[in-house]
Symmetry: C2
Subunit: 660 residues, 2 copies
């Protein structure tokens, strides 16, 4: 192998040249990292990475994550040279409208991109999810002589990735779970945007990762033989994740920029590109040159991957014969298909008031056995989130086939790991915490929405209704904040039956995340015949002939609206109650439907929600009123809070009368 | 001292009894942590902590942070027994409406509470800010024989605090800065809500903190002599922060709950409280008993603090004589008063288009010398955020008197450290990152708003207008998400002159945070005479006689609105342009003013903002239209993005015509 590693120079040069050219052509981008990590990346891709550009979706490929997503031209160069469907024309259109080479790599947008990166700390944390998915699926599907799931997850990460808290959370979890097939190449270039890492980042990174139970190594990132030896050592240890600190020079080869923060985030300039190319003996006349020697090195690796996939598929034919059910289940899960009749059950909620978090727990009891890909957990709030069913075993090293994840007090890590689980394929991840702590995981939620991942959030303790824990734990602005995220469905059910619709939505939505917003406190059960419309996001829950007013509510406040309706009856006022568990779903409905539920002619509309009023004007209009909370909450029993903050049926009815 | 430590048993018992009683009376709360950490806390408060209950605002007191805020009854017990203005009646009203003993400690609500805690990881990270404030103010004000600022910051933190990513960020920074006066007692009780820490938290915490350059120790947390010796050793080392891992038993003394997660978050129950009290020889007949021996121990410490404050005040009299200007400045800063004429300058923005981030940078050049308490930095985006002026020196160990903070790629840590800087007193902190990464720091932003801290966020790259970096870096939902937070002022100026109003608002708002939302791209300068209304949050920027329509916009889109106004002129349509840099400030204005700017009778209203449309109905009404982005952005030059996503003057004018 050393021979091969030494012969990588043409490939390394070609990567560097393409990366410089892409950035220069766009007049925007980050040349420093591709120049610095070209040696290590070329070593990994040419010699170790298992991939097949002909089938980027091959389930048993290795996953490669460029956590330092700003170095996107490194990845695009590798993809192009390897033979992925990313023609040179795309590299020339780096960062241009409609190209497949956006500023930062985007999942689902460019073949070979395993996860969207750029926001630092996310990629490496997604990789923990990818590596966990591999172990979990292997535990479920592998059988003697049938290593159906048998791959590695490789990451290139930067100083910034390791400074971010989310990587602390995810990497500590990876060490706890002994995810030995996770291998991180850390671009230890001692440079950040502000200058040298001595300005602020002087921790002993290796020691920290040792504390997490990682294998750690330090190599010269420009010595490809050293890098290769380190990767071999990492591959040899299946019992711990590995961090390989690659000491590199950012902007390597650029005579006037290398080793400085100037190399990081702006084009080198035409002259400097020329000088850099000259220094490495690269032709300077034309940009975007590709030399056959470079291409061949990666095409050979790609060919090996193709052969490997062929062998794997042969094995899968035998697997189909030996384990037909497992075989069928594997492909069903990988394709994201739901088993037939997965929701063909009638839950038993009893007749007593039930918190929607408890209803969710009861549904999970049914869903877990019916949906083999459903894998969930909580950020150390299991008894509060009702996320663990009576039959679940924990996922731990030695028992990866469990169904329950102990994320620890690591909400952000949980969000990012769930994204990795979903991006891997084969898994429907869900994770629980208090709604107020959705703030801790917002960057990961946003990326799930952007990537279109079918992740499910179980956010309980959804309002001041949680009571005594007080304002630090009471969400106010969170509903509005989540509703504002594109492609995220927020679903706040009013009772157990609406919770069924929430989970149905969440499971069926395989191209975007769903946030279930659930109460701590018990809520009366509605009539299931009346809640059938919940799946539409908004519906008439209770009507009166020729209604003069509409009461709108979500979640626990729906019951206040129903009580107000009765009070209004007594005063001879006919009011309709509209339950709006999901604004997003309701707005996706046909205009006619929306108009039937909220007729324009009924101007008297009062909404009630124990949350910020922000955004409700959309439904109540200029003349309407919203009873909500544009302040932080308070620590007290929840009935007292509702009473003292004016969230009552009496106040609601009075508002209607006032408007009439 | 060992004698004293040994004699603490009555105090320890009293703390435990009060904590159990408070939780039992409320029938809600967390008894496990107070029972487990009573020994360590009693040791700290009785023997080391410098505090004066008669003057909780004494500037040179030690700061004590209960990062594990769920153990609030521990703190309330200590405060009560020490003689703070927190009568026993308050402890009996734990977690009740209007009490000073909310579920989690709240800054500004209860004397002696230095920062609001509960959301895990925040308190310990605030403490880094408190400890940094001490070093920074000491460097500025201390003179030979005048140790004006000379105190320590003590923390009690939990497993959860250390699992959270924010504590990684802040503690790594504390180690880098050698904050030797930061001392953390880590309640290493091996229990989380889900069960034993072996479920998920198996990292070597001490090794990790050693990697951060912390002094670390491990003690038996129930051996008060060991705890005391460790604190002494921590105090002896001014060169590094210290982590003291206190191995404790959660719910200590509760025969049926101790050492289990059941002890954590629910009342022990009447019978178990009785058993626990019996076990420690405490009278079981009446709850909320206070014994003089216990009180005396803390009152003696409080008396020492009172004496120390007296000596300090004497010293300050001499300081006033020796350094009158420093003395005056110290008190001005500590009181949060602004120097006279701090804003009496006319900035020179030139006449060429200028990005509002650049305008902000120019203003900082003026503000930094005029506002001695202004201390800022960036999460490793200094050249992009324009947060560092030409005259600033970095804050580093050995040069704490610098004015610029290198936060590293640690947005969340930055937010939490800023809260600590502000909570300490004497400092107006500001911190920069890209607007999209405000998501990383939301939990800290929320707490700044809840605490009413005058923190300033410099959020640049505020829309798809940042261009090629693409959707991962382009904020969409962030404006709406921030506007929904109570007590946060969001200010998005349209040009350099409106940026002046933004900074004026931010500096003057000493009781709540302000987020400045600034462009990457250059914007034309408006006429400063016309932008005088920006300070009101919303105003008529450009009018026409008898306007038929109103165009509303913020930030960079104001210029599109002005262009649309001209297009409408050509079509004979008179349109008013309203600039709305801050919704919050505008809504605080008198109704008359609001009506004058947005008269109800003008129904044709079109808003434009390169962001989620969420919330705009508030201003455009039911009949209005919002041009915005309810999708993620795209990677391309920004002019292309605006064009292709329909954010143009032509589209805006066309909408108006359509509505007319």
């Amino acid at each position: 192998m050393p021979t091969q590693i030494l012969s990588l120079q043409p490939l390394v040069n070609n990567i560097r040249a393409l990366a410089m050219d892409g950035v220069q052509q766009a007049n925007s981008g980050h040349p420093g990292m591709p120049l610095g990590m070209a040696d290590a990346a070329a070593t990994l891709w040419s010699t170790f990475l298992k991939f097949n550009p002909q089938d980027p979706a091959w389930p048993d490929r290795d996953r490669f994550v460029l956590s330092a997503g700003h170095g996107s031209m490194l990845l695009y160069s590798l993809l192009h040279l390897s033979g992925y469907d990313l023609p040179l024309e795309q590299l020339k259109n780096f960062r241009q409208w409609g190209s497949h080479t956006p500023g930062h790599p985007e999942y689902g947008h460019t073949p070979g991109v395993e996860t969207t990166t750029g926001p630092l700390g996310q990629g490496i944390s997604n990789a923990v999810g990818l590596a966990l998915a591999e172990r979990w699926l292997a535990a479920r599907f592998n059988r003697p002589e049938f290593p159906v799931v048998n791959h590695h997850t490789f990451v290139i990460a930067s100083d910034g990735d390791l400074m971010e808290g989310v990587s602390h959370e995810a990497c500590a979890l990876a060490g706890h779970l002994n995810l030995g097939r996770l291998i991180v190449l850390y671009d230890d270039n001692q440079i950040t945007i502000d200058g040298g890492t001595d300005l602020t980042f002087t921790e002993d990174v290796l020691r920290r990762f040792q504390a997490y139970n990682w294998q750690t190594m330090r190599v010269d990132g420009h010595n490809r033989a050293e890098v290769a030896a380190a990767i071999e050592q990492a591959l040899a240890d299946d019992s711990r994740p590995t961090l390989i600190a690659c000491r590199t020079i950012i902007g390597y080869g650029s005579p006037n920029r290398q080793g400085t923060s100037k190399a990081h985030g702006e084009p080198l300039g035409v002259d400097e590109v020329r000088l850099t190319k000259e220094g490495m003996g690269w032709p300077v006349d034309e940009p975007f040159q590709v030399i056959p020697e470079a291409q061949e090195l990666l095409r050979a690796a790609a060919h090996q991957g193709q052969v490997a996939q062929g062998e794997w598929e042969t094995m899968m034919l035998n697997y189909a014969a030996a384990y037909p059910e497992l075989h069928a289940q594997f492909y069903q899960m990988i394709r994201g298909e739901l088993p037939a009749e997965w929701d063909a059950f009638t839950p038993d909620f009893g007749s007593k008031p039930l918190a929607t978090r408890a209803a969710s727990g009861k549904l999970l009891e049914q869903l877990i056995p019916r949906l083999p890909g459903l894998l969930g957990g909580s950020a150390d709030l299991t008894p509060s989130n009702n996320t663990r069913t009576s039959q679940m075993a924990d996922v731990q090293d030695g028992s990866f086939s469990g169904r329950y994840l102990r994320f620890g007090v690591r909400e952000h890590g949980m969000g990012a790991v769930m994204n990795g689980l979903a991006a891997h394929g084969g898994i429907i991840p869900y994770g629980g915490t208090f709604l107020v702590f959705s703030d801790y995981m917002r960057p990961a939620i946003r990326l799930a929405a952007m990537m279109g991942l079918g992740v499910v959030y179980v956010f309980t303790h959804d309002s001041v209704g949680l009571g005594e824990d007080g304002p630090t734990h009471q969400p106010i602005e969170h509903l509005a904040s989540l509703r504002a995220i594109p492609n995220l469905v927020v679903f706040r059910p009013a009772d157990a039956w609406e919770t069924v619709a929430g989970w149905q939505t969440a499971i069926q939505r395989r191209h975007g995340p769903t946030a279930l917003i659930l109460t701590r406190q018990s809520l009366p059960l509605l009539d299931p015949a009346q809640t059938a419309g919940a799946i539409n996001g908004g519906y008439i829950l209770s009507d009166r002939p020729q209604p003069q007013a509409i009461l709108l509510a979500t979640g626990s406040e729906v019951h206040i609206a129903l009580a107000a309706q009765k009070l209004l009856d007594e005063q001879g006022v006919a009011a309709r109650v509209v339950s709006l568990p999901s604004w997003e779903l309701f707005r996706e409905m046909a205009r006619d439907y929306q108009e039937a539920v909220l007729p324009a002619k009924i101007k008297v509309r009062v909404a009630i929600e124990a949350a910020a009023t922000f955004g409700w004007e959309r439904f109540v209009g200029e003349t309407g009123v919203v009873l909500g909370l544009d302040r932080f909450g308070a620590s007290a029993p929840y009935q007292t809070i509702y009473q003292n903050l004016g969230l009552t049926a009496e106040a609601l009815a009075a508002q209607v009368v006032k408007l009439l």
